[in-house]
Amino acid sequence: MMQSNINPNATDFPTELCAKPQALVGISGLDILNNAIHKSIWDTFSSNRRVERAPVVFKLIGNAHEFPVVKPKRSSYDWYIPKGILKKNWLHKHLFEIPAVTVIFYDLDWSDPQWNEKMIECASRVQSMRAALEGRACKLTVVLIQNSLPLPAGEDALAAERAVALCSSCELNSQSLFVLPHGDHLQGYAVRLETAFYEFAQTYYHNEAKHVKSHKDHLNKNSHQYLFVRHQFKLGILYELKQDIHSSHKHYTHAYNNLLEIRIVDTNALEIRTIAGFINYKLCRLLFALNLPRDAISQFKSHIDRFKSRLGFQELSFEHYAWLSKQYSVFGDIFDEAVKLGLPAVQTQHPGLYYQQGAHYATMRKKSCQELCSSVTTYPQPDPLEGAIHMEFFGQRPWRPGKISAEPPDPHLESNGIQAMQFLERQVNHSNLIIALYGLAITQYKTYRCPRTRRHLVLQMADEYYDSKDYGKALTLYTHMLWDFRSEKWWSILSQILEKAIRCAYLTANIQDYVLLAIEFLGTDVCVSLDEKRRVYENLIRILKKQIPFGNTKLPQDILQGAIILWQPVFTEKSLSFSLDMGNIVSCIATKGRFMKTAYEVDQNVTIEVYIRSTCPFPLTFSKVSVTVNTQGYSSEFAVTNLENISLSFHKDEVKRFLVVFMADSNDINKEIQIGSINLLLGNPQECCLDLKYTSLNETNGNHIELTHFKYSLDKLDFDNIQLLPKATVVPRESKLRVEFDHEDPALLGEWYKIKVGVVNEEMFGITDLKIEVGLEEEIADVEISLRPEPSHTREGIVLTNVDTLEHGEELDSFFFIRSSLVCKFNLQVKLAYTLNREKPVFSSKTEIVALSVVEPFEVSTKYLSLLMNEIDKFYVGEEFGVMKYLMFTSPWSIIIEDTSFEYTNPLRPAEKAYNSQLVEKTFNTGEIGAEIHLAACDKSCEHNLTIGQYSIRWRRKNGYTTSTNLHITGLSCDWIPLGIKLRVPAHGFVRTPMILSYLIENRSTDLIQLEVSMEASEAFMFAGYKQFVISILPKSVRTLQYNLNPLIAGNVAYPKLSLKLPENAVEDKVPSIIDQEELNLLIQRSLSTHIYVMPQAKGQPKLPTVISPKKIMFVS
């Protein structure tokens, strides 16, 4: 075909334009195919070109290489009329063909034995290269590949001499000769050589630029406008090759401005537009490289503004749009490139915007192509586009190349050319171009956080797929976009997408998507015409009957035909069934499900209410409604139960309530059950059925759910305001046993406390396997529970009974005991577990709590008394004292003391022969105090308080069990004094009847004690005995002082007062006395009674007590 030789995308930029200009270095003399050393040298130069290496590109030049011919020099421009702006071959020639530097590699060591021969050969090579480059200012250099390492400069005389010789024979400057030792560090040498080459190249390009500039003077503005542009563009390229981007930018700007000065006529419009695109490309790219992104963008914008309206030939407007699209997409590319090199872009200014515009113009191109080219069916003969590839200039029409005069073109040729262009345009796959651009834009928008814009682009992309008849891809894109618009409730957009998507689903015969989309389509939120909905509804019904749905009549016939062919095999299967997840779509049928309670007892029916509302404008009938209930580990499905009076057919906006009733499984006690999904079955299973599954049961994401109460609702069932309750717990059934506890609270410390448990069966059925467990709610170490009033050694709860059966109304009594050794309060837990004897035995349980408090039955306190019944604060060794024990009864119960006993601990001992409890069998009520006293004595002195002994009380409450309470009783400290004194006296005396008073003074020490004894006179007595004298008491002996008293007055009278004093001299002589006066006084105070009852004189001759009977008083001296 003739058109095959024509580039289908005339607007594409030439590759040499887009390539980054780099200095070209020709390499010759390397035989990389046969010589391994040469190969490695070539590889070192040409591969692994990283950024830090010099910006040069190497080209391998063979021996027979021919360079482009040098054009004859023009001496004057006077008669020269340029035929175009930019020659097609120039760029390629200078970038890739004419090297700035040519390097001739030659294997030659300084010490080579055949030096002369080789030198001549090398020189001849240089000469032939020079001849090949005749007319070019290209720099020639020679590199000698040497095996030996070079010596430092100046030391190798031979090398220096031979180098000079070589240079002269090659007619080379000594700076143009290099040595490359082949061995280690090849890379380092290569980099250094490369830098040298690069410097040469820069000089070369600089000179070239100067050369181009020199033409400027010969040009005149009238006939050489094209040349102004051409030269400036060339300068731009040359400076770019020199890597002087500032100058380069300057010249490109000049070129662009010169271009704008050219008057645009029909004949040159394409050329100027093309060249403007090229220069603009270069300009923008350089501006990004110069880190002037704003300038780049504004340059691009002004460029577009300038050319946007220059449509050119109306018949070729697609060409203009193609050009615009290309401008945008290329700008997007260079912008993106700059971003990748670190330029920060923002949400409102990023490459995606340009790709999007590019796609936009590509769409325009397509539209204009459809308008203009649809009628063109033949390619004109002869081919007007012949030779398009070999055109001399960029942007010219092949049928009239190089015409710059404004004379009107041959109309026949012109129309043929346009027809050919239009014919070719028809062959272009526009959709691919557009989709590719959208793809680029979408990626960018995603990067710059524009999810919604991105979505819009995806939709446009999907439209394009639809246009290109790729309905499957379009459907995928549409369905993916639906979700976001749904969640943000942009219903009108959603409706539009749905409409398109459903069409795609139809055209691809994708039954599952079709029905899913149809169900959403029929909902109230989708705002499309009722007719359209009716069509979809009828199709849905047809599908359920396994009939091919009807396509939209607006679609072209051939497309519909194709769809019907696709649909036919869909229904060949016997029965179709689809499970559709409705959780993510806004369906035309809404459901709500809830439990009626948060907890269900295990023998109760669990009821789930299901509300279903249809917003479909046409009636829908379901064949089944069921609910899936999820329990830990498994799920089960239950169908609705109240179908007798409700039909499963729904009209528009109808709400119906269904009930699902089932029995909770006793395995699920204390587990959560959950409404997993509500399933509606549409269609019948024999033909085609849809299982609509509503899983997502969370609340609607409305802003203010509470406000929907104010919404006026026609329905009796206010669907919107039904609160969901998707979870419930299965709990054990509530027991109907009556449990009574009989006990006398509070319990007393230490006693076995009896509790009676009475169980009455008030269930409707008999029960079996009754088990009563008693335990403490919280473990307390000091509390024991037992079945009998004796320790049971079990810490855990005890099981009271195991009764086989207990019929309805029957009673059961059982007992248990607890004992606490701690005053506290605690709760007893009584658990009853049993099986209910109904048709289906149900395990049941009941827990009761008994609150108990423990109090002390009595408090024990003690007092210590002297023999005179005075309270004392100290014991004395050998002196007897009374221990007085008080029991204060504090409990609310009367308590019987069975017995008490006391066990003395050493060094205390009882001062009585036998212990007789004084409280035996006494009963005490609340608040009463019982006391008993016993005499004791201490044998040893002790500084701290002594433990007297253990006091044991055995007691019980009335009808209670005997409890024994043991207490340790702590007494006082004990002192030792050397003296003891006792008074022996009758219980009472009679007036004028003598009686004997004897004082027994004991010396307990091992020292002799001398005391002054005096007896004061008393009015109540006459007495006989020593009134005042000094006694000496021998160690460990007792001295008795006897007085004969004759009472004179009746009544409670004081004795004559005895006083003991330390002898006066003793105080002076024996400084450390073993007893002091203070102690003596205390001793007398506590040991001697001071008064006696004296009776009036007895009548007659009463028998006198023996102590009073006359006796002979003896004095022992």
Partner: protein, 139 residues
């Protein structure tokens, strides 16, 4: 004269939408949606920076070849969007700002209306009329 006004709720769903040419409504919806991207970005940045909390006007969000889009966000994150023809030079920043203020006060009125449920799309005729008047500049 504005060509389109949109009121977007805090959940980014449209509460009210009107444009002079009803045939183009869908296109404008896409434009307004794209503008929401910019609004969201501005709100995210605004929370960090020391922007004036009382300034509700966001300025021009972005320009298209054909239209300019302005935004305004209330403290309760209700977004007002105005689309203006890019050829329209009569509307300066200040005019746009005062349009937004008027829309805001109209919106406040409709929220106070006991028959309007906040969060629902606004379908009041008088509200639509007032907004149209603001758009055409007849108030």
């Amino acid at each position: 004269m504005a060509v389109c006004v949109g009121i977007i709720g805090k959940d980014n769903s449209p509460k009210f939408f009107t444009c002079l040419n009803p045939a183009e409504e869908l296109n404008f919806q896409y434009k307004v949606l794209s503008a929401l991207d910019v609004v969201e970005e501005k709100l995210n940045c605004g929370s960090k920076g020391a922007t004036d909390l009382r300034e509700l006007y966001l300025g021009m969000l972005y320009t298209l070849e054909t239209h300019k889009i302005y935004g305004y966000v209330t403290n309760t994150k209700i977004k007002f969007i105005i689309v203006v023809d890019s050829t329209n030079m009569a509307l300066r920043d200040n005019e746009i700002r005062s349009m937004f203020r008027k829309i805001h006060s109209e919106y406040a009125d409709i929220v106070c209306n006991p028959f309007y449920i906040p969060g629902e799309p606004i379908c009041s005729k008088s509200f639509t009329g007032s907004i149209k008047n603001i758009m055409t500049g007849t108030v």
